[in-house]
Structures are given as C-alpha cells and as structure tokens.
Symmetry: D2
C-alpha cells in the first residue's frame, strides 16, 4: 500500500508525527457515542437509519426540513445547520448531491468547519470531484479536523439493506475509525489511498460501467438485427471475452434477465442524469490530468444526448431503447 | 431455439422436406473417414493436427505449399486445390484470412464447389462478413451441399490445445454432424441459428471485447494518473460494476496480472490488425442493417489509428500503451 | 492530371490505343441526337427535363410508370426497360437511389448491358460505392461501351434550375463528350480522374459537410447556452477560423439565416436518411482502404441515431434540434 | 444587442446607475496616458510593443524578468508585481497562459486587485474559462474597478502585425474605452455581450475550428487513398458544401497550399497543446451547462492522444500526419 502515498508521503509523515496523536486523543473514541449526519436525501436517509439501528445516536440536518421528519420520529436529534451538528458531534458523515453542496456544507457561513471540534472525523460520502475532496481535507486540517472521502457504490436498495460499497480515501491511520461507522451501512469498505482516491476509484468504476453498458446495448441491438436470439447472444457473450457486468448482471435488453430495470420499463435503478453527472466528473479529472479518454468522453456525450431527448429519469440501461429504431420508423 | 429461424422458417422447412434426407443418406456417415481441410495458417495448422490426433485422416491444401509440410509429415495427404479436396472428402473444414479468400476457395475456378459431392458438409471457420456466409450457403445448396459457418473464439494457444469455442450457424439438423468434428478442436461448440449467425455472434462478441478493452485501458490510465495503485484499482473494478473480461482476465496494464500479453511487452495474443479487421466487419454489418454503434465505431477507428502509428503487430491490449504519455513528453 | 492515373495508367493506355478510336467513331457524335435516361425520381425528373429543354430528344424508363408521365407529356419516349433504352440510344444517363439499383439497371436481366451498342457512353449520376462504379466500368468495357461516374452535388432545387455540380470519373478522352450533356443540367462539371473518383470526391465532400454541420450545430448550441446571441455568434464564426459552409450558408439555427431549412422547421433540403446513406458509403470506403476517419465515423453514427429517433425525414441540419434540450426537460 | 444581457440586465442596470458615472469620471480619460501590461510572453510581448508604437507609455511586469528586457529597452517601465502596476496605471491589459495564472495575477497576494484604483479598466486577453472571467469581474467590481474579457484570435504573427481579432465581453458602456486600446493591437474588435462572452465566443470558434481541421484531415486522407489528387480534391471541396477555413485557408496536406504550417513540417502556427487546452475549456463549459458536444469532445480526445504521441509541439494541422499510415507499415 506504500506506493499509494507517493508525493504526499512526507507531508503525511510530518502530519502524523506532529498532529495525529493529539487529534485522536481528543476525539470521543468510545463507540456508540453520537454521530452527525448531514444530507438526508434518498441515499442519506436509509444510511442514517442503519447507523441508528446499529446503536449510534444521530444528530442530523438537511436543507429541506421535511426530509428530517422520518429520522426524527425514529429518535434522531434534528438541528438547524451543519455548524450546529459539528458543535455537538465529533464524527460526522455527509451525503450530498454535488461539489457545490459539499463546499457549502463544509466551508459555508453555517458550515461544519465554523464550529468543528479539534480531532473530529469528517467523512464525505458524496460523489464529487476529487480535487474538491482535497480542498476540503486541507481546510479541515487547518481547523485540526480529519477529512476523508468515502463515496459509495450501490443505489437506494443497497443503502436500505446496508449493502453499500465504500471507497475510502484519506490518512491510513484513520481508516479503522472510519470503517467502524461505514461498516454499519455497507458490506464492503475499501481503503484506496490518500484523500481523493475514494472519489477517483468511484469515478473510474462508473466510467468503465457506462462504457460497458453502452457497448452491451450496441452489441445486443446489432446481434438482434443480425438475427440472433437475445438470450442466446447474452449467453454466448457471458461465456466469452465480451463478458461484462452489464451483460451478465444488468442486461439492458427487456426479457433477457429478471429483476433488472430493463424488465420494468427502465424504472428504478441508476438514473441517466446521475450517470451523466459522474461522467462529467470523469471528464473533468481527465481534462485536468490531460488523460485521453476517447470512449469515456463519447459515453458522456451519449448520456447527455439521452438527457436532452427525454431519458433523464430512466435507468442508465435505457441506452438500449435510445439506440433502437423508434416504432413506426 | 425456434425463434431463431424467423423469416427463413418456411424456406428451411421446404428445404428440409425435399432435400435434406436425400443429402444425408449420400454422405459418408461412418465416423473417422477422411476429412478435408483448406487453409493451414497459424490457426488452421493446429486445428488440422487435432483432427488428425482424433483419428480422422486429413486431406488438405493451402496456397502456400510450405504451410503443408508439417501436416504432411504427420500423415496428411496434400492436394493441389480446394476442388481436388472436394473431389475426395465429403466433410471439409476451411480456415481462411478474410471474405475474398473464402469466396475464392468456395466459388473460384479451382474452388470447392467445382467438384463438391452431393450431400457434403462444408464448415467455414474463417471470420468473415455474415452476408458472405449466406452467399456461400446459397451457392453450396445449389450444388446439393450443406454450408455452415463456425468461426472461433480463442487464439493460436486455444487452437493448439483444442480449447477453441465454435459459434455455429446453419441448418439445425446438421449441427450434430458438425459438432462431431468441431469437438475435436474445441471445448465449446454453440449452435447460434441460421447460416451467418455464427459470424454474427463472433463479430458481436469481438466488438464488445474491443469496447471493453479500450474502456479498461482508459480507466486504468485515468486511475493511475489520479493516484490510484493499478493493482488496487483492478481489484476494486473487479468487485464492482466496472468488471469485465479485459479488467479481470486480460488486464492491459503491465504488472497487474501474470501470463497476459501486457506482461510481455504486448507480444503474442490477439493482434491489433486482427481486431481492426473484426471491427471493420462489425461496422459493415451495422451499416448494412442501419444499426447505430457509436462506441463500436469509435473503437474501430482507434484500432485503425493504432495500426497507422506502429501498433499493428502488438496485442490489442497495447491500447493502454497507445493512450499513455510517451516518455519524454 | 497525370498523377491521377497511377496504377491503371498502363491499362488505360492500352485501352486507349486498341479500343478507343474504334468506339468513338461508331457513336452518334452529332449533337442533339436522342439521349437515354433511366431513373425519373425527384432528381432524375428535372434533370431529364433540362436535357429536353436543351433540345435533346429523350428516351426514358423508370420502374414506376407514373414517374414517367410528366416527361412523356413533354415529348419524351417512354420504354419498358433499361435494355430497351440501350437498344435505341447510345448516350445514356442513369440516376438511381443506391448501389443495388445501379447493379440491376446495368447488369440485370433487362439491364443496359444486355442490349448496349458498341461505343455507347453510359453516365451514372447516382451516388454509390466507387467500387461498384469500377465494376460497372469493367462490365461495360467488356461490351465495348464506356462507363463514367458523375454524381451530383446540389439538391432538387439545383436539379430544377440546372445548377448542379457534376463530379466526373472515367477516361479523360471521354470527358468532353460527357460534359456536353452534363452542362445542360449543371453549372459545374469537374473532371476528377479515373472511374470511381467522381464518387470518391462526392463522398469526401459529403463526409466533411456532415462533420461541419454537426460541428456547427454543437458550437451554436454551446454558444447560446453560454449567453451568446446566435446571430452574433454566427457572424463571429464567419469572420474567423471556425467559418464553414454550414455556418455561413446553411446555418442550422432557426432565425439566423433566411431561406434555409432551419427557418422552415427543417423541411425540404437534404434529408437525414440521405446523409446517413452517404456517410455509410464513406465508412465503407474508409474501412476497405483501412483509413481512420474518427469524426466521419461518429458523424455517421449520430445521423444513424437521429434516423432511429424520428429525424429520418428532416433536413440534415436538424441535428441542431436533436442536440438541444427537449421542451419540458 | 439588448438580448445579450438577459438575466443580468437588472444587475447591470443598477450597477450602471449607481456606480458607473462615478467610476468613469475618476479614470484618466486622456488618451496616451500610461497603460499597464501584465504577461510578456510570445503573445504579450508583441502586443505591448504595438501599444508602445501607438504612443502609449507602458508599465509592465512578468514573472520571468528576462521576458521584460526587450520592452524595457524600448522604453517601458518594468515593475515587480501586478499590484505595483495597478498602483500606477488605471488601464491594464493582461495576457496570461491559463486560468490559475489569471486568478493569481488578479486576486493573489501581489495581484492587481490589491492596489487597483477605483474606476480602473482591466482587460484580460488570456483564453480562460468564462466562469473565471465572471469571478474576476465580480472581484473587480467589489474594488470599484471594471473587468472585461477580450481573448484574441490569431497567433504570434497577427500579434506582431497588429492584426489580432479581439472578442470582448463586459459592460457595453466600457466597450469604447476598451476598443481604443485594443484597436492598437488588432484589426477587429468585436463586442460579444456581458462578461465572459468574449471567452465563450473564442472557445466556440476554436472548437469548430478543431472539428473542421480534423474533418478536413480525415477527408483529404480518405480522398488521397481513393485515388484523388490532393490539390484537385481541395479545389472541389472549396467550391462545394465541404468548404471550411481548414480546407481553403490552412489546408493540412503538404503541397496543397503555400505559406501554411503543412508546407513547413507543421512548424510554427497554433500548437497541438494549445488547441488541446482550448478544447478542454470548451469541454468544461459544455459539461457545466450540460450541453452535448459529441464531435467537440472527440476532437478534444484526438488532440490529447496526439499530445501523448509526440505531436505536442507541432501545429494543430499535423493531425493529417497523425492519421496517415506511418512509413514502413
């Protein structure tokens, strides 16, 4: 794992020696003390519930007060702002829609860092630009707090059943503390390296997922038009080198597989808008690092075109439907 | 399997009733009688050897006499032309580089159909345009012979060890007879449907394979530039929805995996030129059927650019190297 | 122009010496003798009328008898088949939808070559694969006739007003004879080189046109979303290096320009289906010559997706509408 | 032009009434008083010289002292920092490589805004993200200064000969004052709308330019492989709908045109790296505004691949060379 630290090794070493032991000693290390939670949307809500179920008292907030009702009835304490949460809890999890929200919740006028306690552990599970994660980590360190990025793989269903996968970036010394909480909400908690690498891993996975999904949709559509039975084609691909998650686990062709959105008119699942957002993040990081991603860039554009043509709310496997001939053509 | 016949069902039914029983009775059904083999290149040579090993006397030919020497020493009879082979054997396998070769070997002045016996079983394992397979089947039927397409998945290694996968198109009644021979050369023999569907399945698989490989190369490269350890990133992808054959079985990043071309300077394996050829076939069938294949088309162009830039002879996973920054940049 | 002949120079030289003088002497060289015309569709009809206006008696045919009525009323003689036309006229122009039609009209059972007179001049103005043009030229030569390809640039309007551009491929010695007829139907008649180069020039132009049109649509849409006034943006592009025919002559944004399809709900003009067809030809020639055309390939796929999504009948500049956000999104 | 102000109309109106008259009265309106210049690189140096030639005393600075020598010898006063320049001059032009440099020069610890005089006119000719221009305008307004973006079209040659085109965004009331200075350095000064629209126009133009250039390179390469003479093909395109700036003014094929980089081994001109940078800006603005740009995105990736493969320093028309078959293939 040493290779992961690279350029920031010395920085981290220094930080470790001078600051770390002091920080940890000041944090409430006794398990089952209260945990803060900011962002109670479709994902945050079931995640916070699972923390509650595991016995952690929850102090939460959300910009939409109605989002907090259910959790309040289950016993959570609801406060007015992230700053107020940070004033009471020294372990906080945030789950927000996008980079600007994260910036606001951490560094805004009522943000966490306004009242954060020294030694606090701040875990952001939003999917955002890794460079923003790094900025937040720097800002948190200035206040004596520890910031980690821990975006998730898996949707609302996995959030409800506590089966999310967390990809965690940040100081390795803090991983155990983070894992204690994240394990209540997920089945896998993977350490990825320094701050931002959790986001990077998430973004990389979703870029390859999008490419595989569009590729599977094109391939299945082409095969069907060439006279192949869709189920048979899927079977052949899945025993051959064309095999991928989109072909063997989440096939986009209606009727090939049970229990996936393609069998339910592409409802539920992972929306085209969200995939377009993640591909936008992949594109940003690729542009910033001058990395060529020809298929990733085109996948991004295809999901953008789909959003413009009425597919925004459908599962991302609806690209199969988008590519097919419209009825009556 | 009935669904596969669709539009050609009536044609096949008629054909079955009037012609089929007559044909089969006239073919040498006793196993282990001689088998013809046309095309003794890198793939055809080990395939013919495996037939020999299984006890079938081989009558072979190739445009390059030197290609025949090894097989001759092993006991095969070498003749001058495909027509001569067809004159002696009523089961013939062909393994040729591209569509024009197939057209020539079957319908040329010294082609198989000049001397083919009524009821002969002709199996073409070349990877070609499915519309050419259909043309050959029509031409063979006119001479009272049966043509099947049976392209392979797996390279020279799989050909040598008899572990190829055959994707077979043609009259379902003939599949058992074809499988008897193909099983000597492969581990999987899959019936795909009417004539041409073997090619279609092969082309579909390789298109998705190319998309998955380039996607994996882009993703691994992006992740590495974002600070992720390549082995860790591969591990994360392979337990997540980014998983595909190129990430978990044939990873293009040197050092991530043992025993794949990326660990051997991209030597061996499946050449970029061959992948470009298969993607050209996919593009042709997509254009002919007016099927949009945006990622497939771009994958084709990327392999074309690679061929133009010196990667023609390397394994197709070398796209990882192509996308990386050149040293000194 | 010598460089254009290249590999076929010797062939042409031989042909010129042995055959050419004989052929020409046998053809009706007197101007204003009858001209054959096969294919009286949207383009062929006004083209044949312009020949009539120029004083040439017309002998015509079409698979749809009703297509011939108007021309018959104007004095043209209508016959039953291309063979019949070839029996009467030794200069014939063909204007057909696609390669299979051309193959049938020339080499089919009632095709031109069944009754063609020695020395006849056969000019095909269809847009087809240049390799088919070459095949037709070889077949014509066997019958002692001369085949030239002369596809057009410009739509129905230019056909009506006699303002088409003809791109002509074939023996340079025949160009003057071809130009005599083509000048009655077009404003520009350009000699491009050996047989097939007329098609090649046409295909090349339309590929670049498609790229420029989609590029202009993307650029105008992006600029508008960034707050630029569309007319001002068009003006800036047109005085700068972004200038192209699609930005300065056929702008795809409604309201920027008068008298173009974008101002008329994308009706009229050059249909998306036809552009997709031409891009399919470009893709075929690129695949056959192993030429990378990344943007051309993607342009092809975008027009294919548009055809699948209801834009088949609209002018090809409707890509601007396809890329824009749907209302209510 | 009113339509351009849209959402910010009210903001600008308010600003105009309360602040504007006060600002202008305090600025040195007498022409030929000193002008500040920050950034004396390949472009900034000749631009500043042209201001000097027009009679404006120049006060300049650059992070590399050696860049200032030539201008100092011509009579310019060289200071240590942008802040120092702002302390002396109330009209300042900046010409910097990228967004971070602009942010630093304006808002950094020694930046212009540290000592800017009320009513100063700040004109940024760098090519950067329009959202950064907007940020700088807001920051400048807080200090009572006016910020305009005025990126240029045209390279070092146009900068030397004073033939640049400036695309200007900002308060329309200030355009006359800006034009007075910019006219000394350019042949065209175009008002585009509110702050950031100069950048937007520049980015839009360069995106369409890149698409047109790659499209021209693909088309010329395809035509040549199909047997067309390159000069003839260029001539045909330029009289047809394929015409664009890259085909008729800056043709990428060596030998087609005089006086362009393709005739000089792709030296000079507009480097591939710079084009890749501008396409990255186009991609960022498209991603932020959720605008699909399929060809623009692919053009970006192609220039990225070229940078990775050794073309970083060549003119952007070298894409023709990149797409061609390497010798010996």
């Amino acid at each position: 794992m040493a290779a992961l630290f690279r350029g920031s090794r010395n920085l981290l070493k220094r930080w470790n020696k001078n600051v770390h032991s002091a920080l940890v000693s000041s944090r409430s290390v006794a398990s089952k003390t209260q945990v803060g939670f900011v962002g109670l949307g479709n994902m945050g809500n079931p995640m916070a519930k699972n923390l509650l179920k595991s016995g952690y008292p929850i102090i939460a907030t959300d910009v939409f007060p109605e989002s907090c009702k259910e959790l309040q009835e289950l016993g959570a304490q609801i406060l007015d702002s992230p700053a107020d949460v940070a004033d009471k809890a020294d372990r906080i999890i945030t789950m927000l829609p996008s980079s600007p929200n994260v910036i606001d919740v951490y560094t805004g006028p009522n943000g966490i860092l306004k009242k954060v306690k020294k030694g606090s552990l701040l875990i952001d599970s939003s999917t955002i630009d890794p460079s923003v994660s790094k900025e937040m980590a720097v800002a948190a360190e200035k206040m004596g707090a520890v910031f980690m990025d821990a975006p998730v793989s898996g949707g609302v269903g996995a959030a409800s059943s506590g089966k999310l996968t967390f990809m965690v970036g940040g100081a390795e010394e803090e991983f155990t503390a983070a894992k204690e909480l994240l394990s209540c909400m997920g089945a896998n908690v993977v350490y990825c390296g320094q701050v931002g690498t959790g986001q990077s891993a998430k973004i990389c996975n979703n870029m390859l997922l999008a490419i595989g999904m569009i590729g599977t949709a094109e391939t299945m559509n082409l095969g069907i038009r060439l006279g192949l039975d869709p189920k048979l084609l899927a079977k052949i691909l899945n025993m051959s080198s064309g095999r991928c998650w989109s072909s063997d686990t989440y096939n986009p062709v209606p009727g090939v597989m049970e229990g996936v959105p393609s069998g339910n008119n592409y409802q539920g699942g992972f929306g085209t808008t969200l995939m377009a957002k993640d591909l936008g993040l992949a594109q940003n990081t690729a542009t910033n690092t001058k990395t060529p991603i020809p298929l990733g860039a085109l996948a991004h554009q295809i999901y953008r075109m789909m959003c413009a043509r009425g597919y925004a709310g459908k599962d991302f496997s609806s690209v199969f439907q988008f590519l097919r001939e419209e009825e009556g053509q």
